[in-house]
Amino acid sequence: MDMIRRTVLKGIGASGVLSAALAAGVLKPTQVFAAEEWNKAAFEAKDLGAALKAIGAAAPAESKDIVLGAPEIAENGAVVPITVTSNIPNTAYIALFALKNPLPLTCSFDFAEGAQGDIQVRIRLAETTAVRAVVKTADGKFFSTQKEVKVTVGGCGG
């Protein structure tokens, strides 16, 4: 028992095995991204203002360079297909909000090298609402656009 422990300690201490493991990304696999933890405050915010604040985007500028694809009328609020395509250079982050949902933030994505600011997702809408996409660039500027979606049958409760 003691032998094994000693060997292990020696192994770690002696020759930078630990730092090698760190460098290889064994111990910390995805430190590329700024926000690793689930942003509880943002997801539990009950209105758009609070949710925007929680992601650090108090007043995003309106932008026509974000293309928000959403149906004008969604018959089933439980499954509403949404696409967000950001034509803003260096898009590093996209968040998607449904303004009248009980919890407006639906999902957010951070992009690293190579990933395009282009996402597709299916969300629930509680009722007819505006859907808003917020884009953050690599240098920390926020942009936003929104689109109204009519919902015939809501998709939240039952």
Partner: protein, 103 residues
């Protein structure tokens, strides 16, 4: 353990178009079952997409994402044969990881 994800990654030029269908109930904690009891929340909170060993996308997901969610991403600079690994973790701490190759 949840069912495997269905991952499809197709190359268009040098951009990989990644589509993933995740098998997950995504209970939002507001739905009631037939007996009128509230079904407890059970939903994916975080997910990552790695391509060729490099993490490229990190997603955070709330209760408003539909059941058995579908996600689509585009990643530039991918090559045919690159391994795509997608992982998720839900609010109960369950995780799953699946992979596919860019074709």
């Amino acid at each position: 353990m949840a069912d495997p994800m269905k991952i499809r990654a197709s190359l268009k030029g040098d951009v990989a178009d990644i589509r993933v269908l995740v098998s997950h109930p995504m209970e939002n904690g507001q739905r009631k079952d037939n007996a009128g009891n509230t079904v407890p929340a059970h939903y994916i909170q975080t997910m990552t997409v790695e391509i060729g060993g490099k993490p490229v996308i990190q997603g955070q997901v709330g209760t408003a994402v539909s059941r058995n969610p579908v996600f689509g991403f585009k990643v530039k600079g991918a090559k045919a044969g690159d391994k795509v690994v997608i992982k998720w973790r839900d609010n109960k701490g369950e995780t799953r990881s699946d992979e596919a190759a860019v074709a």
